[in-house]
Amino acid sequence: MEVAVFIVSAVVVLSGALGVLLARNPVHAALFLVQTLFGVAVLFVLLDATFLAAVQVMVYAGAIVILFLFVIMLLGVDRADDLGIEPIAGQRPLAAVVGMSLAGLLATVLLVAVDGLTGAPAGTPIGDAGDNTRRLGEALFTDMVFAVELTAILLTVAVVGAVALARRLSGPMQPLPVVAIAEVDDDPDEATGDDS
């Protein structure tokens, strides 16, 4: 039973990951990413890490990929991109080098690992699955409390960064063309027609 579930979710994860790479449309790629994340959530359930599984779906599928989709919609990149343009000079050779080294690292780990591919069986689980949220809470807020507070600081930095990126530029702005002014002022209540 467990092996069957593992195989199914592994197929889901891997096909999703391939889809992310191969999909031409960024929205489709984001959806494949969601598929991968779901597969990983099922793998977590398989390991009795139920809290982690729920969090995986809530945070990654529910917040982060939604942010991706917002960015895709926000910038209107939902049509075919011109692949001839490289925004960062030399990013393709760089990506190839990084990718190859990552693959090399993984291969080395797998080859050098003492217990072979599957690794040693994990120690016996502490407590029951229903109990693992409680244990996680205790561990987070006692032994790992420093890391948790660091996370809070990280979140603060993220907020400051988001505000800084999205801030309106100061100084004189280019006047809008007259037609655009008339159109914008037409519907000041409509939030998506906002003037920012």
């Binding site: 449309n25 929205v27 489709h28 959806l31 969601v34 139920t50 809290f51 599984a53 729920a54 969090v55 779906v57 809530m58 599928a61 529910g62 917040a63 939604i66 989709l69 917002f70 919609m73 939902d78 029951d128 699955a129 229903g130 109990d131 693992n132 949220t133 309106r168 004189p172 702005m173 006047p175 809008l176 007259v178 002014i181 209540d189 409509e190 939030a191 998506t192």
Partner: protein, 412 residues
């Protein structure tokens, strides 16, 4: 302590168990479909009463079969696929909407005897089990995860239509849903504080042992849950998603026939599930007095039904009473009122709880807590005022700069 696990499924799975599970899932599935049919009729009838008209009256007694007639009609309607739609995603979106709507109801305990320390097990074909489809250890988080997935249905339906009103509707809808999800999550965190478990079954058991969470958490989270839940469902007065004066039909403008019916179904199904979750979290689930011993198992079901009906009535009542929010008011309410209030209340209740454990006197702790919250609130309102003043200033500057070209236009 009690561990979240349905006793039916703990020791191995044999044929009887599989059959019971199938029965439970099947009954829940059928029940939801029938309930949706009746709730749509209930809403239409109630709202026409409130607006002094008759409402559906022809199909069946009191028009009770009207929804069925509408549903059957939709099967015979042409199913259009707009030329500019993204074909795959356009077809996928209804599934992403309807499946979470069905599955979320699985964690709701609908019956079982919780009075006098009962743990709500019932026996079925010689096995003892809970009267809920499933009791995963993460319980309520399962519901939150599914409501996170439900955002995709709305968002992708609008995006894939390749048309402007659905797109605007879905961008609004998804921003609204994630905003209120945060408030919803914080309100639920307060419930976890008093129940000490994520499992819906344990939450109900805990409430029958002490008092209902609506009192134990001090009403505020309940109110926040109700408001945020209404917004999460995109129900009036938060139905900007389908504000017909601005957006035609919102995210499902381009959907017709049975695809539209599925969105409609999942909307009402979510309404039922949200009511049921509110009952579970705050109003003791199916708990209630067992009046007669003869058909004792009926009473919990009856109480559960009564409580859910109260919420459904409230949702309809809200729709009949309140005008729709403006988008900025909606965002302000969510981010500047509900989320800080839920956060502050959570911390206050947590502090009181820990202080009670440590044996500290309650009154000084309450006073200090309220003072700190008041300080936080005034800091926040100061920030809000500063932002508004800056925006006003900036707009005035912008008006000065464009004044030249604008007055030129006026004279021409």
């Amino acid at each position: 302590m009690i561990l979240a696990a349905d006793p039916l499924l703990v020791d191995g799975i044999d044929l009887t168990v599989v059959l019971i599970v199938l029965l439970k899932a099947g009954v829940a599935f059928a029940l939801l479909l029938v309930a949706v049919m009746l709730v749509i009729w209930f809403e239409r009838k109630l709202i026409s009463d409130m607006q002094n008209r008759i409402g559906p009256a022809l199909a069946g007694p009191w028009g009770i079969l009207q929804t069925l007639a509408d549903g059957i009609k939709l099967f015979f309607k042409e199913d259009l696929l707009p030329t500019r739609a993204d074909r795959v995603v356009f077809r996928l979106a209804p599934y992403l909407s309807i499946i979470p709507a069905f599955v979320a109801f699985a964690i709701v305990p609908v019956g079982g005897d919780f009075s006098d320390g009962g743990d709500g097990t019932v026996s079925m074909f010689g096995r003892s089990t809970f009267l809920q489809v499933a009791d995963p250890p993460v319980g309520v988080l399962f519901f939150l995860a599914l409501s996170a997935v439900a955002v995709y249905g709305v968002m992708l339906a609008g995006w894939s239509s390749g048309s402007k009103y659905p797109l605007l509707g879905s961008v609004r809808a998804s921003a609204q849903m994630i905003s209120y999800e945060a408030a919803l999550g914080l309100a639920i965190a307060t419930v976890f504080l008093s129940s000490g478990s994520l499992s819906t079954h344990d939450i109900v058991v805990g409430q029958s042992a002490t008092t209902w969470n609506v009192l134990a958490t001090g009403i505020v989270p309940f109110g926040i849950f109700l408001i945020a839940g209404t917004a999460e469902l995109n129900r009036p007065p938060f139905d900007l998603v389908e504000a017909e004066q601005e957006l035609v039909g919102g995210f499902h403008t381009e959907y017709s026939s049975i695809r539209f019916a599925l969105f409609f179904l999942s909307e009402f199904m979510n309404m039922i599930t949200m009511s049921a979750i509110a009952v579970t979290l705050f109003l003791g689930g199916p708990a209630g007095p067992i009046v007669t011993q003869r058909v004792a198992w009926v009473w919990p079901l009856f109480w559960f039904f009564l409580k859910v009906m109260a919420f459904l009535f409230t949702f309809v009542w809200l729709r009949a009473t309140l005008p729709r929010f403006r988008y900025d008011q909606l965002m302000d309410l969510g981010w500047k009122v509900l989320i800080p209030a839920a956060l502050g209340w959570f911390l206050l209740i947590a502090t009181l709880d820990v202080a009670a454990d440590l044996g500290w006197p309650t009154i000084p702790v309450v006073i200090v807590g309220v003072l700190v919250l008041w300080g936080g609130a005034s800091l926040l309102s100061g920030a809000v005022r500063k932002a508004q003043a800056e925006r006003l200033e900036e707009a005035d500057r912008g008006a000065d700069e464009t004044a030249g070209s604008a007055s030129g236009l006026g004279e021409a």
